[in-house]
Amino acid sequence: MKPNLTVVVSNAPAPPPPPASAPEQVEMPFAVVNGEPYAQLPRDLYIPPQALEVFLEAFEGPLDLLLYLIRRQNLDILDIPLAEITRQYMQYIELMQDLQLELAGEYLVMAATLAEIKSRMLLPRPRGAEAEDADPRAELVRRLQEYERFKRAAQDIDTLARLERDVWPTTAELKERRVVRSLPQVTLQEMLVAFKEVVARAEMFAHHHIARERLSVGERMSDILAALGTAGFLEFQQLFRPEEGRMGVTVTFVAILELMREGLIDIVQAEAYAPLHVRAAKGGNLHLVEDPA
């Protein structure tokens, strides 16, 4: 066991400080002993076994460990010195086994993968093959990169302003809550279907007809009555809006005629050639909107 420890220490040279031009990940603290983070293996011989355990357990798996080995030495992930990295990887695996850490099976799978790649690299390359296909490391490199980008994405997510850690939601109490009923919503279609149905039902009464279409006239009749309700008395001319054009004027005129026919308005004239005035009717006969006759 002891020899292994020494080997590890001698094989873990203090990494050079990351160059300023490479805003890479800062090397992870390698161990935390009594609250003190250690970024490098201590030089002295005695390493508390717990510290190593913490260090080794800090890896999220074989890809993470490999990335650590690569990044620690500032190696190009696209051109990994496989023999060297494999050797270092195996030392960590042996160390974990010696420390009797429960070693996840994935670490051993990776060890086998590394061994296999290494042996394939010793074989001559097939002619005519694409460089990347032919390089036995390609798949490993892809997986390392893929893992690394999500490792970094996780770090990025962790730096987002998170609720209840970086920012806090605010609340102000409302002392007196009132009971509020929200108003029902209606769609135009619902109303039209309702209309269609009520008309269909009404038509089952033989003597009842709802056939006439006088939509805009009806609307104008309402408008005129409402205006008269407010003003009481209006000049005939005022009921017309020339800007509406001939159609609008006609509709207004028909509405006035209709209102007169229904006895809802009177048109009065003080003397001949004086302006006509319109007022709500004081007398008159009942005329039905839906006069069956």
């Binding site: 109490e173 809550r177 279609q189 149905e197 009464f205 003597h207 609307e219 809802l264 007398g283 039905l288």
Partner: protein, 239 residues
């Protein structure tokens, strides 16, 4: 410690805490070497209080400390955050509304004549309260019944420029219900947009549009107490 900083921290803490905070706890938020004294804290609280004048929130000092709360004046508006379950309008109401829209000006008796049942006064009241319908005059017959018409709000709500945009009855009849839905799909979203509230709630209302027939039947049969009126009603009109 700048005054602004003290005020900012206190405001943020009171809003984040969700409960009243005593002065001592407010003081503890600051690092020991920059901790403001009681006077400074109280000055900051007074500044906050002044700032909230004319706003929807206020600073309150209660037995357990300071708290920022919503002003009572806004209780009506803010309570709308927690509305009671929305009830849907009955078929009777929709039919009444549709008749007023298409046949205005129209009296209640005339609506009853077409629908064949008495119109519940609540329906007219609801429509008046909703500002979709208004009294545009009175028919000059005994009792001077009110003549009802639709309002500008009605047009706005349904996204119509004028009543002309309602499809004529002949067209409605020609369309099957499904065609009607298709033809109006565009108009409907326009209506929803026009009301700003054109979102979840509006969609919800739309979704809920079906299968309400049970309730409507009830209402109809309730009205059906007057099933003899059905025959009588129209006659009255004729008279």
């Amino acid at each position: 410690m700048s005054e602004t900083y003290i005020r900012n921290v206190i405001e943020a803490a009171l809003l984040a805490a969700g409960q009243p905070l005593p002065l001592a706890e407010l003081a503890r938020l600051f690092e020991e070497h920059v901790r403001p004294g009681t006077q400074e804290l109280q000055a900051a609280l007074a500044a906050l209080e002044a700032e909230y004048a004319g706003r929807g929130i206020e600073l309150k000092h209660t037995a357990s400390g300071y708290r920022i709360q919503v002003r009572r004046e806004l209780a009506g508006e803010i309570s709308r955050l927690w509305p009671e379950r929305t009830v849907r309008y009955s078929r009777a109401l929709l039919e009444t509304l549709a008749l007023i829209a298409y046949r205005q000006p129209i009296t209640r008796a005339e609506i009853e004549a077409v629908r064949g049942v008495a119109v519940n006064p609540n329906i007219i009241r609801t429509l008046l309260e909703r500002n979709w319908v208004r009294v545009v005059g009175h028919r000059d017959v005994p009792g001077h019944p009110e003549l009802l018409g639709t309002t500008r709000e009605f047009l706005d709500y349904f996204g119509l420029k004028s009543l002309d945009e309602l499809p004529p009855l002949a067209e409605l009849k020609a369309m099957g219900d499904i065609n009607l839905q298709l033809a109006l799909a565009g108009e409907e979203t326009a209506a929803a947009d026009a009301v700003v509230a054109g979102d979840a709630a509006a969609a919800g209302a739309g979704d809920a549009a079906d299968g309400e027939d049970g309730a409507e039947d009830d209402e109809l049969s309730a009205g059906g107490a007057g099933s003899h009126e059905l025959v009588a009603g129209p006659r009255d009109l004729d008279g």
